[in-house]
């Protein structure tokens, strides 16, 4: 991306226009699969899944001409690695008042990797009610699954090595839209 300094050793794999196109395509795929926006509920997983969910919902609303409920679902209390690291701060959970019962819930996250976050999200959803269907939309699928989980809608399949780092930056959180890939050692040194 011109004018923006990239950390040494990392490269941009999706720029802002690539991300916009991918989200537009995914929103159409969701509508096609669901045959419209009826009973849709788009739930983003904080932090970066939430702005993605809002953008998808806005695009769906543009096409269908009606508002699509959107919320956020924090999976932190359901994670399987809580005991492996110091206590984590909770993110915000915001479920629209219509609830999840009988809805077609589309979970949205930025990167699909081991699948453990999605496993936690399914448990979290289970405590909130009983959706009719749960689908998964991700901006990047980088492979290396550790659980039998797959995405229904994928922005970009990104073959990576397990030691590489995939970073998604979004306007709402990071000030710009891009997906970076870096050797993990490099990315870590830069992030400090």
């Amino acid at each position: 991306m011109p004018g923006v300094m990239q950390p040494a050793g990392s490269r941009v794999v999706l720029d802002d226009r690539d991300i916009a196109r991918a989200l537009t395509r995914i929103s159409h795929e969701i509508l096609e699969r669901n045959r419209g926006a009826g009973d849709l509920l788009v739930l983003g997983i904080p932090r970066r899944g939430h702005p993605l969910a809002r953008r998808l919902a806005a695009r769906i609303a543009d096409v269908e001409g009606s508002e699509v409920p959107v919320g956020s679902l924090d999976v932190t209390p359901y994670r399987d690695d809580l005991r492996l690291r110091p206590a984590r701060a909770l993110e915000h959970t915001d479920i629209p008042t219509t609830g999840v019962d009988g809805k077609t819930v589309v979970l949205v996250d930025d990167v699909l990797f081991s699948g453990r976050t999605i496993r936690a999200a399914l448990d979290a959803l289970n405590d909130l009610g009983r959706p009719r269907v749960v689908r998964l939309a991700v901006l990047v699928d980088r492979g290396h699954r550790e659980l039998p989980i797959r995405a229904d809608f994928v922005g970009k399949n990104l073959p990576t090595s397990p030691i590489e780092d995939v970073r998604v930056h979004l306007r709402e959180v990071d000030g710009r839209d891009e997906v970076l890939i870096a050797g993990s050692a490099v990315a870590r040194a830069v992030e400090g």
């Binding site: 690291r85 206590a87 990797f113 780092d165 995939v166």
Partner: protein, 321 residues
């Protein structure tokens, strides 16, 4: 956060805000059909209460259960404690049973500190009120309640009124509110102020009527008759004189700014430090304090127990999972 929660003064500003933010998320759980998180599955929380308590014990019990921890209630009455077992032997017993956290209330100031800093138990210790010393989770839930109504507490002015001498709530609140940047004025008869009050981050006044128009919240303390009898002292001439000068009635409440809140940690002596009509008034958040207590204690237990023990945690783990 530290491994234990013994004093509100041990919390940094960041720690305190983390607890309050976490409590905010925990609070939304009570609106859900399943009011439970699996986070502390398999962990054991022991409520060790050497002193009577309704609110605090039940609140900790509900909080631990909502996080799926196993809860053991250990009250002094009906246990070997009433046969004279020492704190040490009790702690060793709990350790042998594998307690991950001990929530302790004790009539002796410093008992939780003793429990935390000896080798008797390896779990986290949470002070649920020790003598006339501290009650940090009460201060946290008070701050949480005020923050919900007033926004950030930086620059806010809180009056704490009544029996400061015997109040662990007053001390913990003074420390925590100081950390959060609020201004605290203690209003109390001179006989009910502790020695060394000059060292607290507070102002002191003897005139309630003069203070009330300037505050964002007023916290009424219970007159602790049981502790007064124990020290065999007379701290004020009569109950009637006390409530005339330091009690909150409708006339005094009308001196408060419109947005100001009335708090009381409970249990209340209605008619003594607070009149019934004030306790039940719209600006009184006393019942809300109780329900916020569960969310706040969930936040504390979550932050103390959900992660790895500080010593075994790797320095830096990164990457999405």
């Amino acid at each position: 956060m530290d491994q234990h929660l013994l004093s509100a003064g041990d919390l940094t500003r960041d720690d305190a805000l983390l607890v309050l933010d976490t409590a905010e998320e925990m609070r939304s759980l009570s609106d859900r059909p399943i009011k439970k998180l699996p986070t502390l599955r398999g962990r054991t929380v022991v409520n060790l209460f050497f002193e009577d308590s309704t609110r605090t014990r039940i609140s900790f019990e509900v909080a631990a259960k909502r996080l799926s921890a196993d809860v053991i209630n250990f009250a002094a009455k009906g246990s070997s404690l009433s046969k004279g077992e020492s704190l040490k032997d009790t702690a060793l017993t709990l350790q042998a049973m594998g307690a991950d956290a001990v929530v302790v209330r004790h009539h002796a100031s410093g008992a939780p500190h003793r429990l935390a800093h000896c080798a008797w138990t390896s779990g986290s210790v949470v002070n649920a009120g020790d003598g006339t010393h501290e009650h940090p989770t009460q201060a946290l839930l008070d701050a949480f309640t005020m923050r919900r109504h007033l926004g950030e507490l930086e620059g806010r002015h809180v009056a704490v009124v009544g029996d400061v001498l015997h109040s662990r709530v007053a001390r913990s609140n003074a420390l925590l509110l100081g950390t959060l940047g609020a201004r605290v004025t203690l209003v109390s008869p001179p006989t009910l102020l502790p020695v060394g009050i000059e060292g607290w981050p507070v102002e002191v006044s003897y005139d309630l009527d003069a203070v009330l128009p300037k505050v964002d919240a007023v916290m009424m303390l219970r007159v602790q008759a049981e502790r007064m009898n124990r020290s065999n002292g007379r701290f004020f001439p009569s109950a009637r004189e006390y409530s005339r000068r330091y009690g909150l009635d409708l006339r005094r409440m009308s001196l408060l700014p419109d947005h100001a809140l009335v708090l009381h940690p409970g249990p209340m002596n209605r008619g003594m430090e607070i009149t019934a009509d004030v306790a039940d008034a719209a600006r009184s958040v006393i019942v809300e304090q109780v329900s916020n207590g569960v969310a706040t204690r969930m936040a504390v237990l979550y932050l103390l127990l959900s992660g790895a023990a500080p010593t075994q945690a790797p320095d830096h783990v990164d990457g999405p999972a």
